[in-house]
Symmetry: C2
Subunit: 464 residues, 2 copies
């Protein structure tokens, strides 16, 4: 008698055919007539469950089993039979069904449809539902696919710090991190908070990006990537923003914007293919019940080269359709989601790289183009989402970077280490940031970022 | 002419023999005579560098090359020649050496030994040194090895939240996370801070463990693991503690303490083997210059089963040697590092699991043993480090857990969701936490946690 996972059975049922096996999991439903019953058992190892057949003359607790509440934890031992004619490919004929942990009729996940809004209030239980089990399994596979992609190519995974005394992009509201007594903090003689007494001896915050530190590592290892949490303290209540989310930030040396785009396209295709290969049951469910065009859209991405367009040309294309948009497009404006989606969904009908944005709407570290107006920035727009990746070639010229920082009133002294990278063996380099939750939304069709994070952090919400 | 990484050459030099290749990297040293010179070039793709031979009659800028400062970024094109008789297995005979970014004589990493203390002050440059290049490459490989281990076994990777309104272990000082104005925070009529106006509407902190949330996920997926940052706001100045570090926390359902130990042993051996296979150059360096017994010790771990001893028996063994210890051992005391290392290094001479600790020194969620005194806890001790893993079987019995929480004066209402796991389909389960930096110290022999974190956060230190 072998302890097995349902996933093993779906991978190779023949190997277990006719054998006695034990499967432990949770009861999704129980049906019974007088002497025969069925349990839909799910052990979480894959999306689909296992049909357990129990018969009055084969188990010694038939009446008990028939009364199991939904959500009960049970261990089933029995013989695996292939059932190629039936709706499910195999079933277990139980010789023993042992209750591991009971459930109650008050179990919040009875067999019916629940709203995602309600399920968010029981984040500790919702991974037991079809939707969230699929979402988080896809999340796990996508994370691993990303690691595989970079590791196979020799990238070094680097953990950039989360607590920081500098504000990476000079933009975005940040969470303060402190151990000072908030009620009566130590103060300097002039009444200000005395941060010299705080844990780090200086004001500290949660990072909004690991890019600048990743650049340090890229100038040592050539190719690196981060994969870690990132924070934004914006009181945003949209479906697309969370206060705590995960980012992937590769950075490559001796590379220009073209190399950055090639890397981004290869990575996106690799991850999509990896998740399609490893999570077919989960994606099938999403394709049926979340977003009916999902699988076609993903396959379409694999089958075509990504499009390329300059910001300047994109603006010309959009201006012709300004009557479609709430925000009218003009050269120099930041593209809104409605514009991004129009470009990728209507104009190009596939993922598109938009390059060379006006310097004024992009970060200080992006490389100035020869035209004096634009920078070597790139956003990747995908159907259904809009921007999923933002990247750039970085300004590797010390004098140009210093001039830019002065122009923006930035304090060079705070960035001495970042400038050092341009003093000692500078090299053209670039990278991008991929919002991991945006990727999971893209891979599942789920529309709300709260539903792809196990325990989402949003304004007013950090309970559990 | 093909752009290649040095690592590719060390993997299969024959494939490039006689061919024209281009390698881009940083100059570690330049030597020259009148017409012949050598560059030690390192591109970060592997530990070892590439010898570049440049000759006055083959390149058009011999004099310029000969004056390159250490740290310069260059791109070299030339023919790869195998040199089986020489100290290095191959070299490149340059037809072109192009300066990508200059360095200066002030470059802080001149070719001499620097103290690790000094190198910590230039964390942005130290990954370009032998020691830190090895440490961070091992770190990357170990991280991937861990993901591989769990993914191959069907574990679901889960991202537990970092910002939390609850204190997971009820222990350990935590960082407060806030967006309130610290100088003049909003106050309630009785003068307290009005946290209802803070970002999350309640006091929030940085997590000290994702375990409780991981338990929620394990009760849906059966087998899960976390791998993410964790925080401790303790003003500890030891070599073993950082304020921000990474943890791996697997959690398995329908599993007891024995299963937890089997998982931990399998994981440790897998990761050691993976790093030995993928980072031989890095480990060789560590074995030569950091810790001369390193490779023998790692091989020894692979070759033997881990030992097992109960806490009670371990205390008996230690008491016999109490004259060796600063802290004398008595049943009921927590084991200090000196005791842990004595057990694993002197008594067992291999990794050892110590099990069944007194309930009073362990966390509330650990499963009570039938003896009424101990809990089903386990620590894994390893030579050179002491404790590297701490785990337990979790208390899955609702009434026993509630009684324990009352005994400790804990507020049940704050843990309603954790208790729900015991109300609806509870199952015996357990898991452990592995401090990732401790693992890297173990794998490299590096003694200070500040030297295995790219940008360590310790009291007074969060600059970059």
């Amino acid at each position: 008698m072998e302890r097995v996972k349902t996933a093993q059975l779906y991978q190779n049922a023949e190997a277990f055919s006719g054998k006695a096996i034990t499967v432990c999991g949770w009861v999704r439903s129980v049906r019974d007539s007088k002497t025969l019953g069925f349990i839909d058992l799910n052990d979480g190892s894959c999306f689909k469950g296992l049909q357990v057949v129990f018969e009055a003359d084969k188990v010694d607790n038939f009446a008990e089993i028939a009364k199991f509440n939904v959500g009960s934890a049970v261990c089933v031992t029995g013989q695996l039979l292939l059932t190629p004619q039936a709706r499910q490919p195999f079933e277990v004929h139980a010789s023993s069904v042992r209750l591991e942990g009971a459930s109650t009729p008050e179990y919040p996940l009875q067999k019916k449809r629940h709203s995602v809004e309600y399920l968010r209030t029981i984040a500790h239980l919702r991974p037991r539902t079809n939707l969230f089990s699929a979402a988080f399994r896809v999340r796990s596979a996508a994370a691993y696919g990303i690691h595989r992609f970079f590791q196979e190519r020799g990238f070094v995974y680097v953990n950039t710090p989360l607590i920081t005394a500098s504000d990476a992009e000079g933009a975005g509201e940040m969470f303060r991190v402190t151990t000072l007594d908030q009620t009566n903090p130590p103060r300097t003689p002039d009444g200000k908070i005395d941060f010299s007494k705080d844990f780090f001896g200086t004001p500290a915050s949660l990072t909004v990006s690991g890019q600048l530190e990743a650049e340090c590592m890229a100038m040592a290892f050539g190719q690196v990537y981060t994969f870690g949490p990132t924070f934004r303290a914006e009181k945003s209540y949209t479906q697309r923003h969370a206060a705590e989310f995960w980012m992937i930030e590769p950075e490559i040396a001796f590379a220009d914007l073209e190399d950055v785009m090639q890397l981004a396209e290869a990575m996106m295709k690799y991850v999509i293919r990896y998740v399609m290969d490893t999570c077919p049951q989960d994606l099938d469910f999403c394709n049926k019940f979340v977003d009916k065009g999902l699988l076609d859209r993903l396959q379409n991405v694999l089958d075509h080269d990504f499009a390329h367009v300059s910001y300047t040309d994109a603006v010309e294309l959009l201006k012709k359709n300004n009557d479609h948009f709430d925000y009218k497009v003009e050269w120099g404006c930041d593209l809104q989601t409605e514009h991004e989606r129009y470009l990728t969904e209507k104009v190009f009908q596939r993922p598109v790289f938009v390059t060379d944005y006006p310097a004024g709407i992009k970060a200080f570290y992006m490389r100035a183009n020869p035209d004096g107006k634009t920078v070597a920035a790139v956003d990747l727009l995908v159907p259904g989402i809009g921007e999923i990746i933002g990247g750039s070639q970085r300004e590797e010229r010390l004098d140009v970077l210093q001039e830019k920082m002065q122009e923006l009133g930035m304090n060079e002294k705070e960035y001495w280490w970042y400038l050092d990278l341009r003093r000692y063996g500078s090299a053209c380099h670039g990278g991008f940031g991929l919002g991991f939750e945006r990727l999971i939304m893209y891979l599942t069709g789920i529309q709300n970022i709260r539903d792809v994070l196990p325990f989402p952090r949003t304004p007013g919400s950090a309970e559990f």
